[in-house]
Symmetry: C2
Subunit: 118 residues, 2 copies
């Protein structure tokens, strides 16, 4: 087994908390400061900062180093990677169902053929 | 803040482990028993069972109660919910970028208009 944490491990773990998803949903509307993010969450700025660090480590947000208020910005790439992984499994599963349906369809046709021959 | 764990919390947390993602990827090709899932993971069946319980709690798999080997089956609904959440943030962010681009385009046009008026 892989021992180190992969990017997908870190991204999915970061998405597994409602406060962090609320932060990302807010940032999808535009950049925001810690204070702006803390308000709707009814959390203290230090509590928000803790969540921001997890999001930053996952690459899901970027924080400005230069500006005084260090606004946060959403980063799309890790969301895209996570979404692509999920979609791959869905597609695989759905194509398997399609194959199964075709197979059952063929079986039914064969059975009907046999009935006619009787 | 919400105190109880929501479905999305549990689903994303379940996806945050490489062994569990490998199990889901295997099941996207068809149902499998614990033994079949354990082999490519080089894990003991009890270790796999631990991961299966987490996946089952998240609703990502279902295990047959009646069959002797209790094969596991992938369940699409939670993957769909997770994927939809991610896509919502992406769309929101992309439409924001489009609006920003239009705004900058309009500003440029106005500037060019000013230049002509000079």
């Amino acid at each position: 087994m892989v021992k180190y944490k992969s990017r997908l491990d870190i991204v999915f773990a970061a998405l597994a908390h409602p406060a962090r998803r609320t932060i990302l949903a807010r940032l999808s509307h535009g950049d925001a400061t810690v204070g702006e993010l803390a308000q709707p969450l009814a959390m203290s700025p230090p509590a928000v900062t803790k969540h921001l660090k997890i999001l930053e480590r996952a690459g899901l947000i970027r924080r400005s180093r230069s500006a005084q208020w260090r606004p946060c910005r959403l980063e799309l790439a890790p969301l895209r990677t996570a979404s692509e992984w999920i979609e791959e499994q869905r597609k695989q599963w759905e194509s398997r169902l399609d194959r199964l349906e075709n197979y059952l369809g063929d079986m039914n046709k064969e059975e009907r053929g046999d009935d006619k021959a009787d």
